[in-house]
């Protein structure tokens, strides 16, 4: 069973969830992740690289994602991150928790359909 969030955890967890979800699709490099968060949120969520990096670093230390240097022809060397098996499990749980959270919020905030 998933445990409910504390406020602090939710803030952190939200960012974690975003990054893990993006990396879960395919491997991505750091700036790409920042850019995608901005694009997909329609500009309402903005992560500067300097703010994003500690997050990536922490997730990698926790073993949820893993990075490796990739040098593609004609492109400069970048570090690409992908989801680990542990990360996949964690992302699944996070999604579940998020859904429960959103549903709870919706139940309270949406007017009841007659």
């Amino acid at each position: 069973m998933t445990k409910p969030y504390t406020d602090r955890e939710r803030k952190k967890g939200t960012a974690d969830l975003l990054v893990l979800a993006l990396v879960g699709e395919r491997q991505r490099h750091g700036y790409e992740i920042a850019k995608l968060i901005e694009q997909r949120s329609g500009g309402s969520l903005v992560f500067q690289v300097a703010s994003l990096y500690p997050l990536l670093y922490r997730l990698e230390k926790k073993g949820l994602i893993s990075g490796r240097w990739v040098e593609k022809a004609g492109e400069r060397r970048r570090r690409f991150y992908r989801l680990t098996a542990k990360g996949k499990r964690f992302l699944g749980e996070e999604r579940q928790r998020w859904r429960e959270f959103v549903e709870a919020v919706e139940r309270i905030t949406e007017p009841e359909l007659a």
């Binding site: 690289v49 500690p54 670093y57 922490r58 570090r79």
Partner: protein
């Protein structure tokens, strides 16, 4: 803008618009506060630089110069603070602890605090590195402790005996006063009592005291022994500022002549208080007997004051006049003298003077003043003082007395030099280990260097490691020193008077130990550190292919030197050892198995002449009645017992010659049984008869050397020997075989035996027993104490024991050199083993390849062994050459062996090669275990 920076900007933009290094450098500056190991930091910088560059590019920000990059990053600075804080939380905790390493180059060097915390981090890293290889660390520490401990122990002993400042008040004001005879062998000698009293009246001195050593029998209750006693003027302790530990010490009162207002009192040393009285708190007021006379103990002298003659520690101090009245003879006065003549005769110089200068006076001013007095004395007493001057030397500049000090300095220097040699051998191991370790981490060093860590920073880290080792070594060394001191203080050298030296390490020993440990660490840690910091990335990459030639050369040189030092020490040890063997095998001209004896001097304990005669008659009777005793004899002294009597003598036909030209002949007095008991062969004639002894007949027995010297080719028996033109000559009644009389190493020496007079007080009584195990000193002591329980016994034991002082010096030398040699050998073997083992591990690849290519085991082993034996060969050759040059300094203490004795040299070389072979074969066998597949996969 200067030219350099403009050039840099142009270069950077022309080669690559967004040079990685440019970003990296800028990011590193922003992350200066970030802790963490170098590797981790470098990774973070790398990633961040890449991402930030992407971001800047995408934002279309112009970032083609360092200034532009930096200013863009500066605009993001508010984010970096959070970033650093976040990262620190994510870093593993131990990595944060060891962090200062990498952060120091930019952030750490600025403040003292940062350097301190940097060193703290260095220490942690060093400790972890040492603990990672506990066995190796233990070996290296053991060698360091051994090397440093040996130095500390020797220094501690020398310090206690020679260097420690005396426990007196304001020693800089104290001056030794010597009477100087120009051109005499002993330039600075003792002074005459009245001369000292005249000097005492000088304005230049606040006060002047005097002292002289004497050996006396101290009896406490039932037991008695001979002790070092010092007779002192009443003001002695007052002048020096020595306070009593218990009771009181002598006080001068208002006496103008401080030679004995004190009466029948004595004070005892703290050591004597502990040893003889079990530190009895009620010792003050007890009455003991000195030379048979009752004296009252009035006080105890504190432990840190051991008299003014270093190395000779008095057990008791007695007022001068008291000592003279009870028959103590000062060791500085030759012949007998009355108390009056000792105190009043300016010709009798036997007192050592010590003065405290008047306030504010320099030694030079006082010296000038004293010279005036000496000049006045010369004029007033030309008979005795004509050739005498006064010399005053600051107390701190005198060790024992000026005449001996230079040879004491030499012996100390040689001893310290030898133990330092051992330390060098140990240090070579340290250097090799540190170098091996430093280079094993050269990848890390190179990364740090490329990240901008300064070379000095890396040298510092390595030096901290060697200092840590040295600190541990110093701690262990101090323990060794304390242990050695404890042992030394328990050793009593049984001579006529048991000599004992109190050794107690003090702050100077600690300082000395720390100093040599630091020196060792810096000298032997610096070379490897500098060597390791020379590493650059390129050479590290290449390193895996080749071998570090320079470092192998350094290690090899160290090992060769170690072996050379060991050869020198071992040859010293070998020569000294063979000397002892020779010394104990030297024909002393006596058959001493089953012979034992006792040395006594009852007159010094108040026996009258007739009592002496009666005592010895009774002792002879009791010994003769003991089981197993064949025959008993008395002599004035045994040969080789450090007593030397000489007399001028000539054959009667030369009696008319000037007496000054008569040769000196060693003499002794013996009874009728002496030659028989000691097994000295009677070549011609006969021994004395009881009748001749009773009548004190003018007869003499001479040895063969004297017979051949005085009556060459003639029959000496029946001839006359003249010892004094004014008295009757002695008729030669017998000629006996030669022997050794003064030292074992001496050339054939003339000796004349005279009849022992019945009233001779100081004697050695010896007896021959049926079986050697019956011949013990114990029996003699019991018999003597059966007659007089209070009698002090100077010495007792078998003849070997009684004459053991003759082999004392070679035995001490053999022990000292033997220990040093073995330690050196052990350390060299460790060093050799280490270097070869390392070289094998470095050549795993090559050796594996050779085995894969079908090289035989023999060839592989030979490959490794050859390398080790070449090193040893160089070392042995060098060491032997050095030894040939320096062993001649030993020749004075060698017996029956040349300083370049071939057999010893060969033996040492063989022993060393054998040890070297073992140290070589172990790594060589390890080389055989190299698996070809593994070796080739390596790297």
């Amino acid at each position: 803008m200067n030219d350099d920076s403009r050039t840099f900007t142009q270069d950077a933009s022309s080669q690559a618009p967004h040079d990685v290094a440019l970003w990296r450098g800028a990011v590193r500056k922003e992350l200066a506060a970030l802790p963490g190991p170098a590797q981790e930091r470098s990774r973070i910088e790398d990633e961040l630089a890449q991402m930030l560059r992407d971001e800047a590019e995408a934002g279309g920000i112009e970032c083609q110069s360092p200034t532009a990059v930096e200013s863009w990053l500066a605009s993001q600075r508010h984010r970096f603070e959070t970033l650093v804080a976040e990262l620190v939380n994510s870093l593993p905790q131990d990595e944060v602890e060891a962090s200062a390493l990498a952060s120091a180059p930019t952030a750490g060097m600025g403040t003292g605090f940062a350097i301190l915390s940097g060193i703290q981090a260095d220490l942690k890293v060093a400790l972890r590195a040492l603990l990672k290889r506990p066995a190796l660390t233990a070996v290296i520490l053991a060698t360091l402790v051994l090397g440093i401990g040996l130095n500390s122990a020797v220094f501690s002993i020398l310090n206690s005996v020679l260097f420690k400042p005396m426990a007196v008040v304001q020693p800089e004001q104290l001056m030794r006063i010597y009477s100087v005879v120009p051109n005499d062998f002993v330039l600075e000698g003792p002074s005459a009592a009245p001369d000292l009293m005249d000097l005492r009246s000088s304005e230049a001195v606040a006060d002047l005291a005097a002292h002289a050593l004497t050996f006396s029998a101290l009896s406490i209750d039932e037991s008695a022994e001979i002790v070092v006693a010092e007779m002192v003027t009443d003001n002695f302790f007052e002048l020096l500022g020595v306070p009593p530990l218990r009771g009181r010490l002598f006080a001068s009162g208002d006496q103008t002549v401080p030679y004995g207002s004190e009466g029948d009192t004595l004070v005892i040393s703290a050591a004597a208080w502990g040893r003889l009285f079990d530190s009895d708190p009620d010792v003050v007021g007890r009455v003991v007997r000195l030379n048979g006379h009752p004296l009252e103990i009035v006080g105890v002298v504190p432990a840190d004051f051991r008299g003014l003659l270093r190395g000779l520690e008095p057990a008791v101090w007695v007022p001068v006049s008291t000592a003279l009245r009870i028959g103590a003879t000062p060791s500085t006065n030759s012949g007998t003298a009355t108390m009056e003549s000792l105190l009043e005769d300016r010709g009798r110089r036997w007192l050592w003077g010590v003065a405290r200068l008047a306030d504010g006076l320099s030694a030079d001013q006082a010296g000038a003043e004293m010279e005036n007095i000496a000049a006045a004395l010369k004029a007033e007493f030309p008979d005795t003082n004509d050739d005498r001057d006064v010399s005053i030397i600051p107390l701190s500049n005198v060790k024992v007395m000026p005449a001996f000090d230079s040879s004491i300095d030499t012996v100390s220097a040689v001893l310290l030099g030898l133990v330092f040699l051992v330390l060098l051998i140990a240090s070579a191991n340290l250097a090799n280990l540190l170098l091996a370790r430093a280079l094993a981490r050269r990848g890390e060093m190179a990364t740090r260097l490329s990240l901008g860590a300064s070379r000095s920073r890396i040298v510092r880290q390595l030096l901290v490691e060697s200092l840590l080792l040295a600190a541990l070594g110093a701690a262990g060394g101090l323990m060794v020193a304390y242990l050695a001191s404890w042992l030394m203080s328990r050793v009593r050298i049984d001579m006529v008077v048991p000599l004992q030296v109190s050794v107690s390490p003090d702050l100077r020993v600690v300082v000395f130990t720390v100093l040599i440990a630091t020196l060792t660490a810096v000298l032997f840690g610096l070379v490897p550190a500098i060597e390791a910091s020379r590493t650059d990335l390129a050479s590290v990459m290449k390193e895996s292919a080749g071998r570090g030639g320079r470092r192998m050369r350094f290690q090899s040189t160290m090992v060769a030197l170690q072996v050379a030092f060991s050869v020198v020490l071992l040859i010293f040890a070998g020569l000294a050892l063979r000397s002892v063997v020779n010394a104990t095998n030297i024909n002393t001209g006596m058959q001493t198995a089953g012979v034992a004896g006792i040395m006594l001097a009852p007159e010094s304990q108040g026996y009258e002449e007739t009592e002496v005669v009666g005592f010895y008659e009774e002792l002879h009777r009791r010994i003769e009645a003991s089981p197993g005793v064949q025959r008993v004899s008395s002599a004035s002294h045994l040969p080789l017992s450090l007593f030397i009597n000489t007399n001028p003598a000539v054959p009667s036909r030369r009696a008319g010659e000037d007496q000054d030209t008569w040769p000196q002949v060693d003499t002794g007095s013996v009874d009728d049984a002496y030659f028989d008991v000691l097994g000295i062969p009677m070549l011609r004639g006969r021994a004395f008869t009881q009748g001749e002894l009773d009548q004190e007949a003018r007869v003499v027995v001479i040895n063969q050397t004297l017979a051949e010297k005085f009556w060459p080719g003639e029959e000496a028996v029946g001839e006359l020997l003249v010892t004094n033109p004014e008295s009757d000559p002695y008729r030669v009644v017998g000629v006996v075989g030669n022997g050794k009389y003064r030292t074992l190493g001496e050339e054939a020496r003339s000796f004349a035996y005279f009849p022992l007079r019945a009233n001779t007080s100081m004697r050695t009584v010896v007896a021959r027993f049926d079986r050697p195990q019956q011949a013990t000193g114990r029996l003699f002591e019991d018999l003597a104490h059966g007659i007089d329980p209070h009698l002090a016994i100077a010495n007792s034991g078998s003849v070997e024991e009684l004459t053991s002082s003759s082999v004392l010096i070679p035995k001490i030398a053999a022990a000292v050199f033997g220990v040093l040699g073995l330690v050196g050998l052990l350390l060299s073997a460790i060093g050799l083993f280490g270097v070869l083992a390392y070289s094998v591990s470095q050549r795993t690849h090559e050796i594996g390849l050779r085995i894969a290519m079908g090289a035989s085991r023999g060839r592989v082993m030979a490959l490794v062994a050859r390398r080790g034996l070449t090193l040893v060969g160089f070392g042995v050759a060098l060491g032997t050459a050095v030894a040939v040059g320096v062993t001649r300094f030993l020749s004075a203490m060698l017996y029956g062996i040349s300083a370049t004795d071939g057999l010893t040299f060969v033996l040492v070389v063989v022993v060393l090669l054998a040890v070297a072979l073992i140290a070589t074969l172990v790594p060589a066998r390890a080389a055989l275990r190299v698996s070809p597949t593994e070796a080739l996969r390596y790297e």
